[in-house]
């Protein structure tokens, strides 16, 4: 109990720091710390799948994205810092936020007893799929349509980012070109970490069917490794108009959707799997979905095209 209380206080303290820090860069560091502490909280709440996601996306890749943005926007952020809202607005904000927090706290304290749960339904659907991880069973079978739509949402976000490219560089190379490190340390870091990271990413994806892990967590690690070799200047990002790139991006959602449609014919409903082949079909969906998510996440971090295609 003492440990949990201390952890909760630390989470709140880091959140306050993130908001109060003078400098945006310092606030981003605070945010990365916040994500890491949340991963500890998820382990404490016996939610290892969420802990993996928080560590990979919430803290790691979001942190890298925000660090890059904060250095590029440093001047703009300093300019904007002067436009502080007036005392009346600040006071109103304090009142509003206190009310929101108090309301949510009341809801937490007044949650019904016994707690409602969908765990039995999830367990039933898990038994039908042959999967050993309940969260993967929910994502891929019980609520598969949510996951299908999520992969589409990721693609839509990417389309939104690409459409921000100025006319001259339409369809070109995303982000900046990084040069290789002359002293070789960064090159060494990339060459050392990336093979290990790819191995870990595939492992996390693969154990997802029987243990905590899965396609989102595995894909995030693969995406981070691709970004790492780009940052080290070892490879450049491909121009976003490349056909193979676009095929990779849509492969996952397309296979997912096709097998979902086939469900009408072989199991009587959209995204239904026949009992004997459920696990096989789910893994068939997961492999291209993982690849597509990995490519999408990496390109989301890379940003809109900034250099004209050759």
């Amino acid at each position: 109990m003492a440990f949990d209380t201390g952890l909760a206080v630390l989470v709140l303290g880091v959140a306050v720091w993130t908001l109060a820090a003078h400098d945006t860069f310092a606030a981003v560091i605070g945010f990365v710390t916040y994500g890491l502490l949340l991963a500890l909280v998820w382990v404490r709440l016996a939610a290892p799948d969420v802990a993996l996601t928080e560590a990979a996306i919430g803290s790691g890749v979001t942190g890298g994205l925000l660090l890059g943005a904060s250095t590029r926007l440093r001047r703009a952020e300093i300019q904007a810092a002067g436009e502080k809202p007036g005392a009346t607005l600040r006071f109103a904000a304090v009142v509003l936020c206190t009310l929101v927090s108090a309301g949510l706290a009341a809801i937490v304290l007044l949650l019904p007893e016994p707690a409602p749960t969908l765990a039995p339904q999830a367990a039933a659907s898990m038994a039908a799929t042959g999967l050993g991880n309940p969260v993967t069973a929910v994502l891929m079978a019980y609520r598969a349509i949510d996951t299908l739509l999520e992969t589409v949402v990721l693609l839509l976000a990417l389309v939104g980012i690409w459409s921000l490219a100025p006319d001259g560089v339409w369809g070109g190379f995303p982000g900046r070109r990084h040069q290789a490190d002359s002293e070789g340390v960064l090159t060494f870091v990339a060459q050392l970490l990336v093979p290990i990271g790819i191995l870990v990413g595939i492992y996390i994806f693969w154990v997802g069917s029987v243990a905590p892990g899965g396609e989102f967590q595995g894909a995030t690690i693969l995406a981070a490794m691709w970004i790492l070799v780009m940052m080290a200047g070892l490879v450049d990002a491909p121009p976003v108009s490349r056909r193979w790139l676009r095929l990779l991006l849509i492969a996952g959602p397309a296979v997912f959707f096709a097998i979902g449609l086939a469900g009408f014919a072989i199991a009587g409903a959209f995204l239904a799997y026949p009992v004997d082949y459920a696990k096989l079909l789910i893994v068939t969906i997961e492999i291209p979905v993982t690849l597509s998510i990995a490519v999408t996440l990496a390109l989301l971090v890379a940003g809109p095209p900034e250099r004209a295609p050759k």
């Binding site: 040069q179 490190d181 002359s182 002293e183 340390v185 960064l186 060494f188 870091v189 970490l193």
Partner: protein
Amino acid sequence: MNLAFNGLTVVAVSAGAFFFMAGTVGLLRFPDALSRVHALTKADNLGLGLVVLGLLFQVEGPFAALKLISVWLLTLLAGATVTQLIARTARLGTSPF
């Protein structure tokens, strides 16, 4: 046997926790960024190693033990190289690239 293992765990994890404390003390007491990086990484890597050693007596199966050790090795490798990058940034005032 079990009792002996538990005893070893307690000793190793305690020693690990001590090194983490030493790292933080170094961080607070040393004057400049370079010596702080040095104190922090040396002590913390040793601390993590001892914690991993202590937990090795508790886990079941060789695969779990292998994973624990690889976490430590990965932290060591990544930490050593990344520390060098940061130290260079600290020394030159800005990134050397």
